[in-house]
Symmetry: C2
Subunit: 166 residues, 2 copies
Amino acid sequence: MIRLVGLDPGLRRTGWGVLEVAGSRLRPVACGVVAAPERGSLARRLEALYGALEEVLRAFEPVEAAVEETVVNRNPATSLKLGQARGVALLAAARAGIEVHEYAARRIKQAVTGTGGASKEQVWRMVQVLLPGIPIPNGDAADALAAALCHAHHRSSLAAFAGGRR
Amino acid sequence: MIRLVGLDPGLRRTGWGVLEVAGSRLRPVACGVVAAPERGSLARRLEALYGALEEVLRAFEPVEAAVEETVVNRNPATSLKLGQARGVALLAAARAGIEVHEYAARRIKQAVTGTGGASKEQVWRMVQVLLPGIPIPNGDAADALAAALCHAHHRSSLAAFAGGRR
């Protein structure tokens, strides 16, 4: 049995979701959102985000992480802000000794809903169906669990390729 | 006497420069570039960048940091990559207990060369003139020292506004 964490980084809110994988069985452990304070310098906000993620990772001890790949069809200012939060989230995982896997948004949606063009609401609904047993409070937590689900589905093939294409 | 550090974040190379300020006197202490490995996962590269910056900050113990404000006139993919490195650099400073100040690129160029539209080469040349005594190996280290210089010039007025507009 191992634990995976999915992360959906954002400066104001970063979604997270932890799954347990035992063979082909998946069990949701916990999910939620860590919120950085809306005020204060950017550096302090990033520090708060990092600290909150560090606590989640320490509490649930996942050994692998999944995160959506860079979305580039946005404006540069948004991409820069998202990048700063994303860098901090990836760093928190790396410094916790967690291997981070990145998946394209379409691939995550496909893994969860069967279609790469699913809406955020469709993803949330399907994640609740696929992972009954814990309440999923919002779309960011659902997106994080969706990334973890996608990774759970692909990790055996990834393991076969370890050190190769990735 | 206090020490300031300027940072010029980038995923492949992050410039840094440390100044000593005693009254109106400025003395360059050291500068350089920390380079993240070109290979490996993004998370591991960010971890290496963070670790290298952490060492620099530990070695020179600056108490305030200056960094160029977000440049948004780039494409989203570039902005996202820059953002990830920038988030990690800001975090390294914040977690070292260093107060981070951000300055617009034009303001930094103006402080160093007298004109907001100066080229990277002009900035490098003027930083070498203004801070003799240490070799400045490249433009990224020069940009970092330029940010520190700009902060040194403005910090007394910033101190007066502390807790106010910023």
